[in-house]
Symmetry: D2
């Protein structure tokens, strides 16, 4: 069995996470090269990575590299996808592909022409809880879906400079939930209504964004959906989903570091949810890379389709538009 | 300590429930008389109720009666409130007071003039779970409320003839949740957006109603809210609420007949929720009558205020209007 | 349908509880008379009880009384059972019947001769959780029982004077669990080994008793069992049971005042168990009186058999003997 | 930082598990050599292990090897410990060290003389749930421990040939629980009483063993304990512990593949526990090897002490003796 040689472009928090997951957990993928504008020498030396660059081109042009993981900032995604696809590399790209529909479409066109494997980093689809719920819906265990409910709160807001360039809560945070909603409902979102408020941090409002939001969805199959988001939950990372259908309901609670329970005169106390996404979605980050490797070696379709990135971005932009116009937005 | 002599007007399911609760659990209230257009003789004889009438007037005119429980059909509520209040009777009235704001206001005006005790049957406020959540919010345990989430599904739709005259899902079913939302948020609803669909029963759609709905709320204090309703949950009566605030989250799960868990090769199985409102809200039905008695004997204000019925109806009508116009509705 | 006229003998905490349950919840039973050496006049006047005595004889001799609830101190049980049975009264007697096997047998002999209905106050058999587990075992849902586990901790020890005359932890506290073990295993206890320690209160040791105990059981059907007891649990009344068998496991958690969950930076906090038996076993106290009434009116056998009191006492005495001799004791 | 070169002796199920965990998760340990009487060539080639032998001696004599993982059958443990210790290798040895106290003591004497790092494979001490409970007890969160309860059921019995040479349920299965009991109580076991039965498989009885057992413990600090074991739980691997003390109770539930809940007309269904130890204790197997590496590189004492293997074996033998003699056994 031939191994897949991989290069990681962009070594921020998520790039380093993926690189380490490749090294530790995905024997089918061989980490051969990394690129970052600010190379962290100690980091790549410790991992015995031979090829390290301050720009992505050497990776894209390297004939020994079979696949790239694009983890650099969002504005670089589309040009990197296009050049990597043209160079015949398989591509794993972090979400969002881009903040503009046209640019995403342009990238997808090149991807489709070249026939490479393309996967977008909607890691939550690979979370064992959510995967099981998806499968239960597919298998008809809850009957036709009637209501999809997603709760997604971060433990703390990102720094102001991040918020400023993030595209806003709907494109930065809710986009994961839009993908999850499509994944769980098994149907496209055709109508959206979004409200929001600045309840946590004044500076988020001053940056033109909201920190708390509720987004109502209508799906092509007639089901209804609702997502609630907040940038700050005092107790940690709150990530729950629920699908209610003709035959019943399936839901996933939060994951916790342990399942111990302490009972004292003060109360009966269980663990808080995992603090944030690194701990909470550890399994799903590994799962999505394994799926990427399997897609390449076994030519089998991935759980995420190239157009999933496009659809989630379209929904996110519609949510933003709905929030600004204070009315429902239809999607075709 | 003088007992309060009570007459029950209307002996449908809920009227009989209240009558039995008075007899069994509320020693402060003495059930002296009942009235119903179709008197069930066996029923009132078995309970040794001496005064039984086929019309409400003898109760309202009876100088020995201190208070009435109005459990007759909705269209009779306003005239009965007015005549009972003028006769100096304290009034407990089932929800909704009426389907028209003007009529409710008219009834409240008389109530206010006469100074009688008036309580509307929002029994869920007296559920121990929801009461504790309300109190936790009042006590600041979750900080300023940011999100209020209410899930409320019935086990099965009412018969078509009931649906036809019910005023629709928002006035018949969601009205309880609107009151709960106000109670938990501690703030008035100032904006509403409602969607719905016919996913369960075609005939509900043919009757001009929906069976599944999501309703988004904005409160005067800036908090957001969402209610999801369905006329049919395969697993029973699903009644959950959650308040998320600056300091945390408090939620109530469903109540179940037992808390046993059976683990076999097939899975780990717990009880389904209570089947419907009679079992689920047994405590709260008793609690609301005790509160009514306490309001009268101790002259203390009830958890429910006379205007609560008015406010809930206003929100319900706005929800209906939002659903029909497919846009947000503001409430003053 | 003729009502059953009832007299309550002994108006301590449990006698008053039963009297109020009869008045409120069991319409088949009519409370006609009470007796107590220290009559609480305010108490029986408030309840409109006409016949109140300072000795049991007037009740036992009263031809209008059909049944008696014996709630007086343990040493009075056997003589009262004998005289009431001879007077043809149906008998509900609090546990334990007596602390001596011969005395119990003597009482049962009279009960059997007279053919009256006799029920011993093992209220926990009527708890909805435990009843469901019993039924699941009977229905074969967990297969043949292999292990029965019972945890039973009080919130706080009784006063020293109570401990001194209680017969010790095995006869006073574990006796409920011995009955539960027999009820759940569906088999008699044939061997017992008990250990204990003074871990909570020195004075309990000085009174010749232990406050913490583990008791191992072997049943006639080959199943094994274990009971753990403690006089003091900081978090309240801990009452859990579990039956493990060839096909699986069924267990009951503690009951709580509400099922709300509060999540904050400090942790995820649920309710403590109910504080003590009055709250925890409210349902079962009502259930056992209803069963007593049904046994009389419908001539159907009770869930508790007259000999259950005898068997539980025999096991309790064997446990005490095992603890003292530090070896296993066989029961025939 | 110098890496620790490791050789694995014995490549059965557990040996291969440790080897793979070293390769994947413990960068401080470098897997350099393996030995097994029946070498699986495909297995070690796929992992690029250069040194593979059919006997342990080449590993023990290899000056480049710093540490050995002894995963061969129990009877080989003591001679391998002695020769490896004399060769200056650090040792990780699977449980039980041996079935005879003298042999274990002999091995420990050599270990102590040579001053090498020695760790026994009580992996459950490294399970995040149990570690947290241990720490809570150490930190006084439940006060002085009064009762320790351990439930440990396998999903299915091992094959007859395994049972025949296992030393019996107390030495093979309960030994893990004896170590856990000591770990959680923070005190030595001073008295033991064991019962058992053949309830699952006749052939286990014919092999002179039992398949179901309850073992009662008394600790030096006065606390009491109870372990219940069964070779077969229909619903999977049941692994729960609980420590009850003066200030409260801390317990750990089973771990499950997901925490989804499916509610339908049939019931409310959650995941079964993990099927068996490989899934259930994945974290703890990694944790114990990391601790072994840390003990060597940082010269810090391990969570498991060399004498832990001795103590657990002494308790297991006492349990066997108690079961056979049908009486309590004291340990010094």
């Amino acid at each position: 069995l031939k191994k897949i040689n991989v290069g990681v472009i962009g070594l921020g928090r998520i790039g380093k996470l993926h690189a380490d997951n490749v090294l530790k957990f995905i024997p089918d993928l061989q980490l051969q090269a990394v690129a970052d504008v600010n190379l962290d020498e100690a980091w790549y030396c410790e991992r015995n990575i031979n090829k390290a660059y301050s720009a992505p081109e050497p990776i894209i042009e390297d004939p020994d590299i079979d696949a790239v993981l694009i983890c650099s900032p969002t504005p670089t995604h589309v040009p990197l996808i296009i050049s990597a696809a043209k160079a015949g590399k398989h591509i794993f790209c972090e979400k969002p592909v881009a903040l503009e529909i046209d640019a995403i479409q342009q990238a997808l066109d090149v991807v489709n022409e070249t026939g490479i494997t393309f996967q977008i980093g909607f890691n939550r689809r690979f979370d064992p809880n959510f995967k099981k719920i998806h499968q239960a819906v597919v298998d008809g265990e809850v009957g036709a879906p009637h209501l999809v409910r997603i709760t997604s709160y971060d433990p703390a807001p990102p720094p102001p400079e991040y918020v400023a360039q993030s595209g806003g809560i709907f494109l930065d945070m809710s986009i994961h939930d839009f993908d999850m909603a499509r994944y769980l409902a098994g149907s496209e979102i055709v109508e959206i209504f979004a409200t929001g408020g600045v309840l946590v941090n004044k500076w988020i409002g001053e940056a033109g964004d909201v920190d708390t939001a509720i987004i109502q969805l209508k799906f092509a199959n007639g089901a209804l959906g609702v997502i609630d988001n907040c940038r700050q939950a005092a107790y940690g990372y709150d990530q729950r989903v629920e699908v209610f259908g003709a035959k019943g309901n399936i839901s996933a609670h939060n994951k916790t570091p342990t399942n111990t329970v302490l009972s004292t005169a003060e109360g009966v106390v269980a663990d808080k949810p995992h603090h944030f996404f690194l701990e909470r979605y550890q399994d799903s980050y590994i799962g999505e890379l394994q799926a990427f490797a399997d897609s390449i070696t076994q030519q089998k379709p991935s759980i995420t389709d190239p157009k999933d990135g496009l659809m989630a971005a379209r929904v996110a932009l519609a949510a933003k538009q709905s929030f600004e116009a204070h009315q429902t937005i239809k999607l075709d």
